[in-house]
């Protein structure tokens, strides 16, 4: 097992990124994003997020969850309160291998620090590595403190509360 989300992320990324979605609660959606839990073990999980072009999420936190994000594809401006948030447009280029030049780059998102997303015309794809410190993992989509993305997001949160 891992001691923190960074250890979990590093293990996952160097272990062939095992694709092992759980039977329980693998898929979630909001008004502008969908997620698939790719791997879950104990209090750790990694979710794949796909986001619509030109979408945003307001500042929010995921209480009790330490996260680390890993860039996969598209055009994602990920911002953390109180941090330097460089403009990612300067890196909207392919690598020599034909991938996004930010593929595999990571940003830590500690519990309690608000973050927000702004997606460009290409849409976005990233991995969310999560350590749920005080409860079993579900999805950070429904463990959400802050203004929601919209009515679909509200419904998804309500559905999980009712289970």
């Amino acid at each position: 097992m891992w001691n923190n989300v960074q250890e979990f992320r590093d293990w996952y990324m160097t272990s062939g990124m095992p694709l092992r979605p759980p039977f329980k609660n693998p898929v979630f959606h909001t008004d502008n994003a969908m997620s698939l839990c790719m791997f879950r073990e104990g209090r750790f999980q990694v979710e794949l997020y796909l986001t619509e072009p030109y979408s945003t999420s307001p500042p929010h936190t995921h209480p009790g969850v330490d996260s680390a994000f890993v860039y996969l594809a598209g055009n994602i401006q990920f911002s953390l309160e109180g941090r330097d948030n460089p403009d990612v447009q300067q890196w909207q280029k392919p690598s020599p291998e034909g991938y996004h030049m930010l593929l595999g780059k990571t940003v830590d998102s500690p519990d309690g620090i608000p973050h927000w997303l702004k997606i460009g015309p290409e849409g976005g794809a990233f991995l969310s590595f999560e350590h749920w410190k005080d409860k079993d993992p579900v999805s950070v989509t429904v463990n959400w403190d802050g203004e929601t993305v919209g009515s679909e997001h509200d419904k998804t949160i309500e559905k999980v509360k009712g289970e």
Partner: protein, 165 residues
């Protein structure tokens, strides 16, 4: 460059290679009213898209001309119907398998060679991998190489964007 002579061989290679996730820079993400897709790997005429599908959704019968494909189950509750047949009843398989995964994880669902088919997703939502070989053009997404009634405004927009580029 590694080449394959059929989509099944491509799938076997990808699995044996540890399922590398290397989205291309060009056109990696496609969105419809029913599902979101990420191309997780693309090489030559071959690619793999990972589809995440919304709960309680269904396509009408449609085809992807010039594309040979093979779907592999990941999670949730979904089924494919081909050639006008009814959707298969997979309710007996909606159970937890090894390591807390879905018991159908990794199972091949349908092998489709441009033939008409439909997809139904139940209340859990669902996800699958779609291994593809494009015979006549550069791969992009089966969501935009779509012969049939589309899934709504987002789908129409996605097809329109692809046709303009």
């Amino acid at each position: 460059m590694k080449e394959w002579n059929e989509v099944e061989a491509f799938k076997d290679w990808w699995v044996a290679s540890g399922c590398p996730i290397r989205p291309p820079f060009e056109h990696p993400i496609h969105i419809t009213d029913m599902a979101y897709a990420l191309t997780v790997y693309r090489k030559g005429q071959y690619q793999i898209e990972l589809y995440i599908c919304k709960p309680n959704t269904q396509t009408q019968v449609h085809a992807h001309p010039g594309i040979e494909s093979l779907s592999v189950y990941l999670s949730g509750n979904l089924s494919f119907a081909t050639d006008g047949a009814p959707f298969p009843d997979l309710s007996a398989y909606q159970k937890e398998g090894a390591n807390g995964t879905h018991m159908l994880l990794g199972k091949s669902l349908e092998s489709i060679n441009g033939t008409p088919h439909a997809l139904k997703v139940n209340e859990e939502g669902g996800s699958f991998l779609l291994f593809q070989r494009w015979s006549h053009k550069k791969p992009r997404s089966v969501a935009v190489e779509y012969d049939g009634v589309t899934l709504g405004k987002k789908h129409d927009k996605q097809i329109e964007v692809a046709n303009v580029e």
